[in-house]
Symmetry: C2
Subunit: 303 residues, 2 copies
């Protein structure tokens, strides 16, 4: 098997200035695996409740996502409710019901221990470490986290980070984890915690990547209609890891291209609620937008 993600599958209720939806398909594992499925085979480890409809399972299977690690537990599926104002960079959480996710213990099905590419979505760092103990020798481990864990489970997080190759977090989390307002200094301090690469998500400003010897930036794709930013970060991570798993090339040049593919995928997700845009996305649209990123950033006379 190639790419493994451990994360959440959820029902999201979202309000933006452009509309609202109730209990639509969401969750970090859902966005990640759907996005990655455009590039490679992907296996999803997560939990849903007994209320999770066949329709969503059918969709995930239509993307050829391996669901052997998707547990169904008695009870309700994880629910999240949030609102965005005109500043679409920040979600205001209105309600979180963990439900079956509260007792979630990731158990990898037989065969999954040989996963080569692993993404640990934003879950308890103790569970992240637990997953890493179940896999043998992955070529690449990437991981997300959030303010809640940085503050509340800092020690567990610091134990997990030395086993992580690429940490993918947002700008506020970068500053919080390092305790340093300057992003370049903060990145250096986080690289000293273990990860060889730090990928910082900056919402409408794109992504900036730090390694010991280099910095790389990509803008977000400028869109006239940003409908709903929910899932953008996990969609980014899915495109990023999916591309890397498909090329089997971990050179810096390949990682940079993977970041651009991640931004491409995220730019589609935000064009509609839930995974609606990804559901009708064709791969030639992905390639076309990748080419547009070149025009967007080129100053060598290409444009």
């Amino acid at each position: 098997m190639s790419l493994l993600v451990v994360g959440s599958v959820a029902f999201d209720s979202v309000e933006t200035p452009f509309g609202q939806v109730e209990e639509v398909l969401g969750g970090s594992g859902t966005y990640f695996s759907t996005s990655a499925s455009f590039f490679t085979d992907v296996s999803l480890v997560a939990v849903v409740g007994s209320d999770f409809p066949q329709e969503h399972l059918d969709f995930l299977r239509s993307r050829e996502i391996d669901l052997r690690g998707l547990q169904t537990a008695a009870g309700k599926t994880f629910r999240w409710k949030g609102r965005y104002g005109f500043d679409l960079n920040e979600a205001h959480t209105l309600d979180t019901q963990l439900n079956v996710f509260e007792a979630f213990r990731p158990e990898l099905p037989a065969g999954y221990e040989s996963a080569e590419y692993v993404f640990l979505a934003n879950i308890d760092p103790e569970l992240q470490l637990d997953v890493l103990n179940q896999v043998k020798k992955p070529l690449l481990v990437a991981c997300d986290t959030m303010n809640f864990w940085i503050e509340g489970k800092r020690e567990a997080l610091l134990k997990t980070l030395p086993h992580v190759d690429i940490l993918i977090i947002n700008e506020g989390e970068t500053r919080q984890l390092a305790g340093e307002p300057n992003l370049v200094k903060a990145a250096r301090s986080i690289l000293a915690m273990g990860p060889k690469t730090l990928v910082v998500k900056r919402g409408e400003y794109g992504v900036i990547m730090f390694t010991e010897h280099s910095i790389f930036t990509v803008p977000a794709y400028p869109l006239e209609t940003v409908f709903d930013p929910t899932g953008a970060g996990d969609t980014f991570a899915g495109g990023f890891m999916g591309y890397l798993a498909s090329t089997r090339n971990l050179s810096e040049a390949s990682i940079r291209q993977a970041i651009v593919f991640g931004c491409v995928m995220a730019s589609f997700t935000v064009e509609d609620f839930s995974l609606n845009r990804l559901k009708r996305l064709e791969f030639d649209e992905v390639e076309e937008r990748f080419r547009k990123f070149k025009l967007l950033t080129d100053f060598d006379g290409l444009a």
Copy 2:
């Protein structure tokens, strides 16, 4: 003559988390002309009071800036006092004393009417139009403005914009001028007001440029030490216009390179208070940092 700037020369008092300075050399015209002087001949039209010291005039002359349009009026030089917190993107104005700048009426010395490249720094849009009436057929007119004029002198500004080729403003001003939160839509609406090109300054996120047919982005240069952002925008404009005036090439490729040179120059200004970093800057450092921008943004395997 080649490049003309009309703007302010001021004494700035600035507090940042990293230190403070009192009544140091500042002003939009000062930053612009010093930055542009690394690329081309530049003429400065502005006003100072009788308290303006010889030392500063000597510095501007050492940069071979033409000061025939720098009036000296009885009274005190314009003074600005501001503070920045750890979020260095936003200045908090503590005090503004317009002094001799209050009665400033730009009068172009003989010969200046043939200026080919004109930059109207952030002054009253009526004065900006007045300057444009004094020049004959410039090849390129660029202009800055601010929230104060957008709100208080909107009609005058809307009369000036049709005569402006390139409007250079920040992100908040873009949204305010257009009355539209989405940047892409806001840009389209501003292009309909007259300018063929809109250059949006985004502080630590760099610059995004809009034309009718294209969008171009450049990140800010990632710095470990941002000492004082004062003057970054005018330094950017100076590098941008200075480069364009030096190449005499207004193709999109040339404008994109000019934007990168503007970002390069701004990245030096913020490394120290006042114009201190520009005072000790060598052109090979400029070229070296331009090359670093390529590495920072390349995803074609160069890095």
